[in-house]
Amino acid sequence: MYPAAFDYHAPGTIKEALDLLGKHKDDAKLLAGGHSLIPMMKLRLAQPKHLIDLRKVPGLSGIKQDGNMLAIGAMTTHWEVESSSVVKSKLAVLSEVAALIGDPAVRNRGTVGGSIAHADPAADYPAAMIALGAEMVCEGAKGRRTVKVDDWFKGLMATAVGEDEILVEVRVPVLPASTGAAYMKFPHPASRFAVVGVAAAVTLDGKGACSKASIGVTGAGTKAVRAKGVEAGCTGKKLDAAAIEAAAQKAADGVDVQADLQGSVEYKSHLCRVFAKRALTEAVKRAGG
């Protein structure tokens, strides 16, 4: 498999990268880990004329704690997230999500920023980012701006990043006290993408009732979405099995479920409910409920 020819650029600074992006516009594609883009180029489904490789741009990689946020550089790999001690201690669920992406070799190269900017509808991170309330930091010629996750995923492989911008960092709040989070996924048997994946973060109050629930659903629709119905069904309730079951019934509401070989609309909607229930159950358990 041979991709169509292109020009390759490996800028040394973010400014150079932005200049190249500004110059070549639609003809250019940013290259991070390449694990979504390169397969499409090999099949000639994508034929960018310019590839702008971000690997030499300093400061785009690494994980650090910044107050109550984990700041994850866009070029940080899934394996770095999976194996990071700070992620494991402050936001273990994110490490667990990373460990379910693709396979070990993919995790070594695939990046957080690449995944979130590519916004594959079956990617794992988006559900978690929604549940955890992440923010995306984009840099453009005029400087940086932060986009809340709820404003990020715009549609099929479409996000809020401007065409002259680069996603440089993902900021994820560490779990507050009395909060549990979990991600549960039904993997595609071949690609291991999520047929359906649900991430849940649940905060319990002093009495053991849910004071906040945050649920993200990926895989089923054209983009990852927040399951507002489930959240509403959880909030204020003591989340026993029956309450979780009841709340999870809304998991597919608002998801534009797409039928394919792996599932009809009916089946995928059902999986949304099943995995919402499983993720909630585990999250509540982890929250100490």
């Binding site: 041979y2 020819a5 099949l43 039904f186 048997p189 071949a190 690609s191 599932g263 009809s264 089946y267």
Partner: protein
């Protein structure tokens, strides 16, 4: 000089001698080959399932920098259709033919119409692979899209789009086996329990890990063409290509199948690409290399299975099987692949007797053409389809009769025999002790204990199930005379040449081909034992028509039993000749010489002996030599077996179904196989494991799916076609019983396909059993993806 071996190797799990090159990255596969002046080919393929070709414009592609040539089918004048190597016509007196095989043309590059997505219409040859691929995009084909049919049951329906002028109604053939009247009578037996089920055996893609590839090099100076190709049978490739398609002299063509990365049937057949590259290399007088991308492999490697069957079983009140009636539609795809007509007929119908004493069987098969990739042999080839039908309908029958599935089987096994058991479907089994393998499996399983555990699990709402299969397999299909009478265009013997060098070192040339089977080890075990020399002094050569006399190749689990026996015959000839030489040296009569422990010795006089190495040296330095005996020590044999061999065994699978998602998880997998005597148990176990994984794959996740509207292959990549991965399989619990075959002197049967044949019904039966508490008594279709199982659960709940 040859030395004496320390131990007998037959039956020992010695490590494979081919492995060092593979584990260090020094295997030599076709795509590893680089030849000076080499060009690279890319094929232009149909994006449509069915379309007329109005015009092909190659001008822009030809002008593309680096392009050497662009050819279409019209350029290939004098080139014939790819042959079909199996006939099914009444005039040839092929038994069972109801409607003659429609032998339709299959041109290497189609120029009238494309009949499946991926059908090649042009080849672009360039100095680099990149240029070839880029230029291929510039070939302009003016298509006239036509309606397409991909679905097996619709292919021959009235109004279906017609694929070939010579095949009205898209019917390729109609064929039958067994006794229709006796079977109809059996179903009318008073009090009989009868069950009829629709059983679908879906379409599969072999997915050998190495994609197909070829390098063709024409030497203008000598007029010789060398073709390196991913083949399981290089001599067959050469014969078909030379005699049937290109019309070039066979002795001027050398076909080499070097290390080949798996075949599973898919590399038996002569394919368009290797023919076109060979032709183009002769035309351009330059080497041409082509390697399939995986996407091309999905579209063009012959697919496997694709049967839709109505099966009926009749049982007496006591559970004895009275009769079996089978009606199958087999989808052959768009063209007749090399052995396509044999698979759903003589490799299928003849196995429907299973391991049971069934008094009456009838089977009718209709082969149909459709706008899909051609279907041919895939690991098991016909036999898995037969076993699947028998083992599914037997369980359905047991359920209907209210009998335990294990008890019903045991009641119906053919009793232990050796020599001959005449089935109701023509073939004669060689030897069998089906009850012994079955009992061993039940013992390993602790069946009653499992049923108790299952009962407890069901009370907790868990869906735990067990499934069995008691299978029979037919391998080393022979003799040639018989297969010829059944329609084969080839013989099914094998050649083995043993060359003893002057120092007593041995090179063996076999017509079998190893693409994972480990012949360099197992065949050497046979040789070392027979000659009493260390295995290090034996080399096995295969896969090269330039050095191997002739060969039918490796498929149908035939290498040990047919290829191995041919070698053994040559070894016997070597020893006989050696005895004459030794007798002369020892001043004794040849009849008084024994060959023992690597020495020729005078009977009853162990002190009077001469080592093998001395005899071999004498054969090449014949100073002191028997009068009239030819010098040299090299023997060739062709072995044509007197019958098939019939391995058998008993498999069991325990699954748990996730009630919420429908996901199936395998908890245990047990296999007791009987493949006769075993040369290398480690290698046989390995093949059983791999076979099981492929069988499980068919049951749970694999399936080639075409879009019914567009005719596009939906599962055209490894992202979409789910191959079994390590984390969905358990450690297999395996054991063996040993019932040697009387057919060949080593008593070996064949092990390459057993697991694949047995596993699929065992897994599906287990899922049916798991869902039984919900009222499920049958599952029609595979693979049992989570969605499919979930829908079945929903359907059962709704009832």
């Amino acid at each position: 000089m040859a030395t004496v071996a320390a131990e007998r190797l037959f039956g020992k799990s010695i490590k494979r001698r081919e492995d060092p090159r593979f584990i260090t990255g020094r295997g030599q596969y076709v795509d590893d080959l680089k030849i000076p002046g080499m060009t690279y080919a890319a094929f232009v393929r149909s994006p449509h399932a069915h379309a007329k070709i109005r015009k092909i414009d190659t001008a822009a592609a030809t002008r593309h920098p680096g392009v050497v040539a662009v050819f279409t089918g019209k350029d290939m004048t004098g080139v014939n259709s790819l042959p079909c190597g199996w006939d099914l016509r009444k005039e040839k007196k092929i038994p069972g033919v109801i409607q003659d095989l429609a032998i339709v043309p299959h041109m290497p590059l189609t120029s009238d119409a494309a009949r499946h997505v991926g059908d090649p219409v042009a080849i672009v040859i360039a100095d680099s692979h990149e240029a070839a691929v880029d230029a291929a995009e510039k070939v302009q084909v003016d298509w006239e899209p036509l309606a397409a049919v991909t679905i097996t049951e619709k292919a021959a329906a009235s109004g279906a789009p017609k694929l070939h002028e010579g095949a009205p109604g898209n019917v390729a053939f109609k064929w039958e086996i067994g006794d229709r009247a006796a079977t109809d009578a059996a179903f009318k037996t008073a009090g009989a329990v009868t069950v009829k089920k629709r059983i679908v055996n879906q379409r599969l893609v072999a997915n050998a890990m190495e994609p197909r590839a070829c390098v063709a090099r024409y030497d203008d100076a000598t007029g010789e063409l060398t073709l390196w190709v991913t083949s399981q049978n290089p001599h067959v490739h050469r014969l078909l290509m030379c005699a049937f398609v290109l019309g070039i002299p066979e002795h001027k063509v050398r076909v080499i199948a070097p290390d080949v990365g798996g075949g599973f049937g898919s590399k038996i057949f002569l394919y368009n690409e290797e023919v076109v590259c060979s032709w183009a290399s002769r035309k351009l007088k330059r080497p041409v290399r082509w390697t399939a991308s995986r996407s091309e492999a999905y579209l063009t490697d012959a697919h496997g299975r694709d049967h839709v069957t109505d099966a009926e079983i009749a049982l007496a009140r006591d559970g004895k099987i009275l009769g079996l009636r089978v009606k199958t539609t087999a989808n052959l795809g768009a063209y007749l692949s090399t052995f396509a007509p044999a698979v759903p007929t003589f490799l299928y119908g003849t196995l429907l007797n299973g391991v049971y004493a069934i008094p009456a069987i009838h089977c009718e098969v209709t082969g149909v053409f459709s706008n899909t990739t051609a279907v041919d042999a895939y690991r098991g080839a016909g036999r898995p389809e037969a076993c699947y039908v028998v083992e599914r309908i037997v369980e359905a029958g047991a359920r209907a009769a209210g009998m335990d599935v294990a008890d019903l089987r045991k009641k119906n096994f053919i009793p232990k025999f050796s020599g001959a058991f005449q089935t109701q479907v023509a073939v004669v089994y060689d030897s069998g002790d089906y009850g012994a393998a079955w009992d061993r499996m039940l013992q390993m399983l602790d069946y009653r204990k499992f049923r108790a555990e299952q009962e407890a699990a069901r009370k907790q709402g868990r869906l735990l199930g067990i499934g069995f299969s008691a299978y029979i397999e037919a391998c080393s299909i022979a003799p040639s005379k018989l297969v010829g009478a059944l329609g084969a265009g080839a013989g099914l013997y094998e050649s083995g040449k043993v060359r003893v060098h002057p120092t007593g070192m041995v090179t063996v040339f076999t017509g079998s081909h190893s693409h994972g089977q480990g012949h360099e080890t197992t065949f050497a075990q046979i040789v070392a034992d027979k000659l009493g020399i260390p295995i290090e002094q034996v080399d096995i050569v295969h896969g090269d028509t330039g050095s191997v006399a002739f060969g039918m190749g490796t498929y149908g689990s035939r290498s040990a039993s047919v290829g191995g026996t041919a070698i053994l015959m040559s070894l016997n000839k070597v020893i006989e000749k050696g005895k004459k030489i030794a007798a002369h040296l020892l001043e004794a009569a040849p009849k008084d010489i024994d060959f023992l422990g690597g020495q020729f010795q005078v009977k009853g006089a162990p002190g009077k002996a001469v080592p093998f190495g001395v005899v071999s040296l004498t054969a090449y330095v014949p100073h002191n030599y028997p009068e009239g005996l030819e010098p040299g020590l090299e023997e060739t044999s062709f072995y044509d077996p007197s019958n098939f061999c019939f391995p058998f065994g008993a498999h069991a699978c325990i699954v748990e179904v996730d009630r919420d998602t429908g996901n199936v998880r395998i908890l245990r997998y047990l296999a007791v196989d009987d493949v006769g005597n075993v040369i290398n148990p480690m290698i046989v176990d390995g093949m059983v494991h791999g076979g099981i994984a492929q069988g499980v794959g068919q049951a749970l996740c694999e399936g080639a799916v075409y879009d019914g509207q567009s005719g596009q292959l939906v599962t055209g990549s490894m992202m979409d076609y789910a191959l079994p991965k390590a984390d969905m399989l358990p450690m297999y619990e395996t054991d063996r019983t040993v019932t040697p075959t009387p057919v060949n002197p080593m008593g070996v049967k064949g092990a390459g396909e057993t697991g694949t044949i047995a596993a699929t019904p065992a897994v599906v039966n287990a899922v049916v059993d798991a869902l039984a508490p919900l009222g499920v008594d049958h599952i029609e279709e595979m693979p049992m993806t989570a969605q499919r199982v979930w829908k079945i659960i929903q359907g059962a709940k709704a009832r």
